[in-house]
Symmetry: D2
Subunit: 353 residues, 4 copies
Amino acid sequence: MSVSVFDHPWLSALLGDAEISRCFTVEAELRAMLEFEVALAMAEAELGFIPVEAAQAIANAAMIFQPDPAALAAGVARDGMVAPDWVRQLREAVGTPHGQHVHFGSTSQDVLDTSLILRLRPALAILAARLNAFDSRLAALSADHGSIAAMARTRMQRALPITWADRIAAWRAPFARHQKRLQDLNPRLLVVQFGGPVGTLDKFGDKGPSVAAALASRLDLAVPAGAWHSARDVLAEFAGWLTLVTGSLGKIGQDIALLAQNEVADVTLAGAGQSSAMHHKQNPVLAETLVTLARFNAAQLSGMHQALVHEQERSGAAWTLEWMLLPQMVVATGAALARGLALLDALRIHDKH
Amino acid sequence: MSVSVFDHPWLSALLGDAEISRCFTVEAELRAMLEFEVALAMAEAELGFIPVEAAQAIANAAMIFQPDPAALAAGVARDGMVAPDWVRQLREAVGTPHGQHVHFGSTSQDVLDTSLILRLRPALAILAARLNAFDSRLAALSADHGSIAAMARTRMQRALPITWADRIAAWRAPFARHQKRLQDLNPRLLVVQFGGPVGTLDKFGDKGPSVAAALASRLDLAVPAGAWHSARDVLAEFAGWLTLVTGSLGKIGQDIALLAQNEVADVTLAGAGQSSAMHHKQNPVLAETLVTLARFNAAQLSGMHQALVHEQERSGAAWTLEWMLLPQMVVATGAALARGLALLDALRIHDKH
Amino acid sequence: MSVSVFDHPWLSALLGDAEISRCFTVEAELRAMLEFEVALAMAEAELGFIPVEAAQAIANAAMIFQPDPAALAAGVARDGMVAPDWVRQLREAVGTPHGQHVHFGSTSQDVLDTSLILRLRPALAILAARLNAFDSRLAALSADHGSIAAMARTRMQRALPITWADRIAAWRAPFARHQKRLQDLNPRLLVVQFGGPVGTLDKFGDKGPSVAAALASRLDLAVPAGAWHSARDVLAEFAGWLTLVTGSLGKIGQDIALLAQNEVADVTLAGAGQSSAMHHKQNPVLAETLVTLARFNAAQLSGMHQALVHEQERSGAAWTLEWMLLPQMVVATGAALARGLALLDALRIHDKH
Amino acid sequence: MSVSVFDHPWLSALLGDAEISRCFTVEAELRAMLEFEVALAMAEAELGFIPVEAAQAIANAAMIFQPDPAALAAGVARDGMVAPDWVRQLREAVGTPHGQHVHFGSTSQDVLDTSLILRLRPALAILAARLNAFDSRLAALSADHGSIAAMARTRMQRALPITWADRIAAWRAPFARHQKRLQDLNPRLLVVQFGGPVGTLDKFGDKGPSVAAALASRLDLAVPAGAWHSARDVLAEFAGWLTLVTGSLGKIGQDIALLAQNEVADVTLAGAGQSSAMHHKQNPVLAETLVTLARFNAAQLSGMHQALVHEQERSGAAWTLEWMLLPQMVVATGAALARGLALLDALRIHDKH
């Protein structure tokens, strides 16, 4: 299918990101779900809630488990999420007598949210690396070309002379803040979800926190103050961070598209895009794409915040809305950083002022 | 890939729509693009702008043309859209001497926008049919169960007795308006895009309108007042219509989820969803999904209207933003109508008041 | 207070609209509410539901009724809307024995929604007149300067020569559609709201539609298919129309800001704005303002569509959200049209190409 | 005027906040602008850029300066912002020979952005205090009533027993994070804006940073890495924080509205709202208002992020958009916290399960 540009065989070459998208394949999703269930079984065995043999049987089955996709789809259509049918299939795969211990004390949202976090972790690492690379590339650009005279333009009019070092410093400023924000956000985001059916870990008596800690430790995630089934602020905050990043890149893209206008020509772009009808044109495609991705994320972000109004102990409607928005935002941000890097590579600054 | 729920093998079973999605496959897209180029060549031959033999050669080549997907992706990454490289490949496929006549006087946006309209046409037909079916199902529900006593609730509190006929009449009212709006919108939307590089059909002298009319006639589309390269109001209006439809369905979904609460139990839902942890539960999955899809479209709509600020004679940034938003909105609307029909089928009304 | 730019003594000179704002003063609101109650009493007396003397007493009291603002504010804080306390005060003002007949068979939402419609009516007339004036001004601009050579720019790059007539024709095209849409919308929008507590006019037996018709007739409004307490699609559609208009104006504003860049200078703007620091500058303030207002409305529109998910027979939360969004959107649209007219007056087109 | 609910004499009693609104009066705005100019003059005198006598004259004039509002409005309509005409008037008020030293080396955006920050500072203090109070009130509620049995509801269906302590713990969790986020954000937000016409403090040679530091010190603000004329990420981040807070409150409001349904009746609300037609009703007005304010901010936030695409060294269009959105978001957040506190006061929890 190719409803979304991110899943489209050629539009994704412009707007998508193959590397980040790998965090959102069904393979990655199923792998992360299994990782949760195996770690859960191990943690529960360690604390005596299920037999050690059961945990081992679950781990063994997980090595070769291949769920039936048609049954999963039918399950999602019926249950609103994949977990119930997938757990049923996994229990069958583990077989008697240990299958019954799969997913003990847990709930669908535990496995699905933790699976999301496990897949966001590598995505975050990629985004952080690209963010650093982008900032370094700007620093290098300034070092190489910062002394070139430029013309500041305010309210779309020529204002006063500046240098390219001035312009690049203004471009860079938010990126240092984005790096700091990501450091602040990471410990809030990279946490396990574990609450059981209603967030209270009711099957574990007073040992709930111990199981959560053991589970988190095996997944190398932090333990939050409690289950966050219905408190989705950290995901909305993360979506906001993504949108800040794409916004800062969109601003640079807009600037470069303006600077590359023929009449301005303060910059040209190597390898700029072709028109199907006008071969003399050099379209600032990468620069425009950064604007597009910024505006895309800004629209999605609104939906992520609407999803904070999450009814009661778990909302189907609000939770599902996140699934529609967040993966796209992560990929859009990866794409914007990748396109931004390519744009800086293509940028040729001219000494005109 | 499965970044988007609409392209995801199992989430699409809940949130997607296989039938509508077929309008957004790459196969459908390539077919519509070819349909445009063949019709264009025929129209241009008819009016003497290219040789009749060239038009025939283009039509023949189109029957078997298979573009190289890798080259298309590389073209999109470079040019910001698929048309330039695809036209180049099609010209090669037609070969010498007729290949040069492919796409004569046209521009990328002509073929891509017209391709979109050609694919929206069957999608609109499906949506209209489902809208009618949904309205009829509501009418039948009222005919069958309208006399059952109900309790009106305002501001989340019990108000006064009504009947189910009253409730269903309130649910139905917007759907009659949606049908009327769609009739008003259709002639604005189902139009050809044809302007040439800068919207003026400069290659055709004073025959531009004739070529446009001949082209539109072959595609069974209407002829707009002029090229709409930079005037995107009709697409934003269409996106608004989609969001009105999902909003009305979301309202019904929200109502049913509230009516199906255990303590209220004015309705139950046959085949309601399962929980992975609590087998006694009957989750109103379809009802919640309608709320999700309504809020999704409401977020996207904002982006479609941001894209109206379309720079100059053609904007890369704003146009590309539409590609990211509109196909998803059409599929979400199709899904909402399909899920809405299933929800009405599952609805069991109880006589409690 | 001046939290909003629309109510701010000097920012409203840029972003607001004094004429449209008069539809949203408390005086206009109270007047429209009284108009509803008087027309309702007259209609009910005509149909025998309340004594003729009561209707006359209500009409007389309405001539001089001055509600206590502090009590209204306290009422809103407690009841979530002004109607309950205002009706109580009006009943007191009418006095014994007729005061009890005020608001008979009606509900808060009837008077508040109808009051909104009564105030939107003059706003619509102003918007329609300005829309026509703007379109005519564009036509005159084309008649006067259409033959001037221009340069089309696509994807922010020079493309091919056009004329100003071509450019203005592209600008004008959506405005003809906006006029048509408004004609289609008007009969849906200019309708009375009258349903009683739960939308069924339960106090009137089978005479409900007759009372509604008599009420509507006195207010010179149309009668809708039924009460639209919970079906808010027409307001969302209207918000969409406003956003289409500001979007089309925003596109023109963006174009003019680009054309007025010093290096391009295809146009200059008479009376353009000053900088506090750079006296040589001529800022395209009106052009930028059109972009701002377009993006403002595009953000608000999303909220109007979120408000379609309106729970049950009447929702406090969703209804109140409309109050926060719609008046601002109407004023923003009025402002955009007024600024757009001023921008066209200031536009000086240069023959450079 | 009363276009906005925040400036409306009685709707503001429900949706506004008198205390926070005082930060957005024109008086507060003019006072903060003067505070900037006086501090600037003092800092510049201290570093020898203007005569000490001039700084003193400016400080003296500022004590009694009353700008002409009509001229300010005309200035805004012409210049797109108030600063140019206001500076002109202030220079006149200072008179010859010192008036010429007013605003030396500065630009409109310096005074207007710093004025915003100076007014956000008390608003932040109020928000922080209310956030702490709200969290403490939740803690007290849990201490007093936490042992009461409750019913968890997931996907709108009864799930399993919990306690009120469990529910309140889930409500509280985000508020600890909001407090932490605010601490992280404060040093980024409470900074001076000072860059001069194009962000480079060109009038001060290599002393620009010293002037900025002296200015900031006098205003008790921090010094950012550089002028942030065109890098608006911190304001968008702040808007995101506001929306996270209202989102968390909206979730609690939605929960309470659901719990207060007659059929559920796990809680009642003291002093709940009246209906104009149904006197038996107790409407959960405060709870609904929290939902409304959450959805309002979620819509505005999208616009704040669209404004990140800020052209070149200073954008009129994007900057102005912030003025339309941010003050309302701050007041909406203040209102949500105030209404949230009142809602907790009114909450009566019943022992039913």
